[in-house]
């Protein structure tokens, strides 16, 4: 029995609510649970796991010589990212400190030790519904998205 149902029955026993109210509350609770279950099932069947992370740097279309501008198109399999994150656990502590120091020099205050597979999964999940679109100082467009 769920906590909510127990609480409703306790309230009924303490005569804080009537039998009619208790019945209605239990009914509403059951309907809600059933609804939640069906939506969760639907989302699992519809939602597909992303396969790739795509990073693109496109030149400014209005630039005078677009052929001389840098262009980047990188497609990284998600499984490779996951494997890479697992590899961070094998970095010796001295090397980790050096990496953290180098990142700090570049103005990035990040500890590589904090990078965990669970965090990555969260980030990937967030990227499923999001597309990062940044315009650089030279007008170049940076796009980060996931592909299925």
């Amino acid at each position: 029995m769920s906590e909510s149902k127990k609480r409703i029955l306790e309230m009924l026993a303490q005569k804080k609510i009537s039998t009619d109210e208790a019945y209605r509350l239990l009914d509403a609770l059951e309907t809600g649970e059933r609804g939640q279950g069906s939506t969760a099932k639907a989302s699992t069947t519809v939602k597909e796991k992303p396969k790739y992370l795509r990073v693109m740097v496109l030149p400014d279309p209005e630039s005078e010589h677009p052929e001389n501008v840098d262009r980047v198109n990188v497609r990284v399999p998600m499984s490779l990212i996951r494997a890479g994150v697992k590899l961070t656990a094998l970095i010796p502590p001295e090397a980790r400190d050096k990496v953290n120091g180098a990142l700090r020099e570049k103005g990035i205050d990040f500890d590589v030790r904090n990078l965990k597979p669970e965090d990555l999964e969260e980030l990937i999940e967030a990227l499923e519904d999001l597309e990062v679109d940044v315009v650089g100082s030279k007008g170049e467009k940076v796009k980060v998205s996931v592909e299925y």
């Binding site: 990284v76 399999p77 499984s79 494997a83 697992k86 094998l90």
Partner: protein, 92 residues
Amino acid sequence: MNRPPVLMHLRIQKEERGFDLWLPLFLLLLLALVVFIIVSPLMVIAILVLWPSGRGRTIILIIRAAFQTLWSMRGLKVDVHSGPRCMYFTVV
């Protein structure tokens, strides 16, 4: 589980000069498998010797991570253009 990569294509172009390389990974993987089978008894001994110091476990983790990384490389594509220079790398 992912299928292992079969081919690797690397192209580097620097103005007029450049090179194109197709690497048959399926052949290299077969070669690596043979080497792995030959070396595995030595690796087992090394793992057992180093186990008390804690490095034996690290060796196992490294081997596992190396296989995982290699196996998940399929689909990787890097295409970088910088003016007349370009670098293209893909794993099929």
